[in-house]
């Protein structure tokens, strides 16, 4: 995908830009080297579900969920504010290296967490309406639903659009800024949802 994507975009003429710079390296929209790891994790998750492998289910759910929450909060509360204070060239250079990795990491940890989470809830009995944890579980479904719509409907399209824009001969700074504003607008919601997830999950695990 990577070569195809970068080539197709880089060769498009820009209507309002100066001549392209031949020296600028192309951004890998999807880091191809990470795909085998993703494939292994997909197989691991599928086998864990298929064989009701409880350690595998718990491993994927805890590791995936921990990374998802940790990365979201770290990026939103630590990386984001630092990035906002950097110069535009520094911000562009950091984003060019950071965002492609997020394209591959975040969907993978989300898949690990959600696909196995339902099975973990089933085995622990929390899915049963009679379980004292059932209401908390439903709240966690709602929290995940809000985060999924924000991540998949708002943030991921913006992330990929920014990477494509940065691959153009002369990226449109105003456009990138507008797309990046989505991350700022949704950071608060995502942060609150992730803290809620931490509270709900630790509560579920301790009852």
């Amino acid at each position: 995908m990577n070569d195809e994507v970068t080539n197709s975009v880089a060769t498009e003429p820009s209507t309002s830009a100066p001549p392209p710079s031949a020296s600028r390296p192309k951004i890998q929209v999807v880091p191809v080297r990470g795909l085998p790891i993703v494939a292994l994790l997909v197989v691991f998750v599928a086998l864990s579900i298929g064989f009701n492998w409880q350690w595998g289910l718990m491993f994927n759910h805890v590791v995936g969920g921990g990374l998802w929450t940790g990365i979201d909060l770290f990026v939103g509360l630590v990386i984001g504010p630092i990035l906002g204070r950097l110069s535009i060239p520094a911000r562009a250079e950091f984003s060019a290296r950071f965002m492609p990795k997020m394209v591959i990491i975040m969907p993978t940890v989300v898949m690990m967490t959600l696909a196995t989470g339902f099975q973990v809830a089933r085995f622990s009995g929390n899915l049963l309406a009679s379980s004292p944890n059932h209401a908390w579980l439903i709240v966690s479904f709602c929290v995940v639903g809000v985060m999924a719509v924000i991540a998949l409907g708002v943030l991921e399209p913006a992330n990929i659009a920014v990477l494509f824009e940065m691959n153009k001969p002369v990226p449109n700074g105003a456009r990138i800024g507008r797309l990046m504003q989505r991350f700022i607008y949704t950071a608060g919601i995502t942060g609150v949802m992730q803290v809620a997830t931490l509270i709900i999950m630790t509560r579920l695990a301790s009852r």
């Binding site: 995908m1 195809e4 994507v5 197709s8 975009v9 498009e12 003429p13 820009s14 209507t15 309002s16 830009a17 710079s21 600028r24 390296p25 999807v30 997909v42 998750v45 599928a46 579900i49 298929g50 535009i88 060239p89 562009a92 250079e93 060019a96 969907p107 898949m111 959600l114 696909a115 339902f118 099975q119 089933r122 899915l127 049963l128 309406a129 439903i138 479904f141 709602c142 639903g145 999924a148 719509v149 998949l152 409907g153 708002v154 991921e156 399209p157 913006a158 990929i160 659009a161 494509f164 824009e165 940065m166 002369v170 990226p171 449109n172 700074g173 105003a174 456009r175 990138i176």
Partner: protein
């Protein structure tokens, strides 16, 4: 790495709200999915879930109709992004379908879940591809 141009154009070509429609379709199936999952392992009442599915399907049809009417659109870029995103989200949807089937979801419930996953697996790639292609040169 060069910095983005500081004097870049700030006006954009007006586009129909394809991204909003597909995101709304995604929200409908997410709510429907939560509803169905909240009843598991019991059989969920399908009325509200089916209504949400129909709403999501109508939103997707509206989005595709508006998309098809755009003149001077970067279709090459759209198709390139859409097909790879579709592959990724088809795998994710397949995993969710597998989990539901593995948990003995059967009959009408499985049909509703499957159709919701079809909407999921097509709405997200459409949103991503549209967001990328709207800023690409039509070529």
């Amino acid at each position: 790495m060069h910095a983005p141009s500081a004097h870049a154009e700030t006006t954009e070509r007006p586009m129909p709200p394809v991204g909003w429609l597909t995101s709304a379709a995604l929200a409908c199936v997410v709510v429907g999915g939560i509803l169905l999952a909240s009843y598991a392992p019991r059989v969920a009442p399908l009325g509200v879930a089916t209504a949400l599915l129909v709403a999501a399907a109508l939103l997707m049809i509206a989005a595709v109709t508006l998309l098809s009417r755009i003149k001077e659109f970067a279709w090459t870029t759209f198709v390139l992004v859409f097909k790879w995103a579709l592959l990724a989200y088809a795998i994710t949807a397949g995993m969710i379908e597998f989990a539901f089937a593995h948990d003995h979801t059967r009959g009408a419930s499985l049909v509703v879940v499957t159709l919701m996953l079809v909407v999921f697996a097509t709405s997200v790639p459409t949103t991503i591809a549209f967001t990328v292609a709207r800023y690409a040169d039509p070529g």
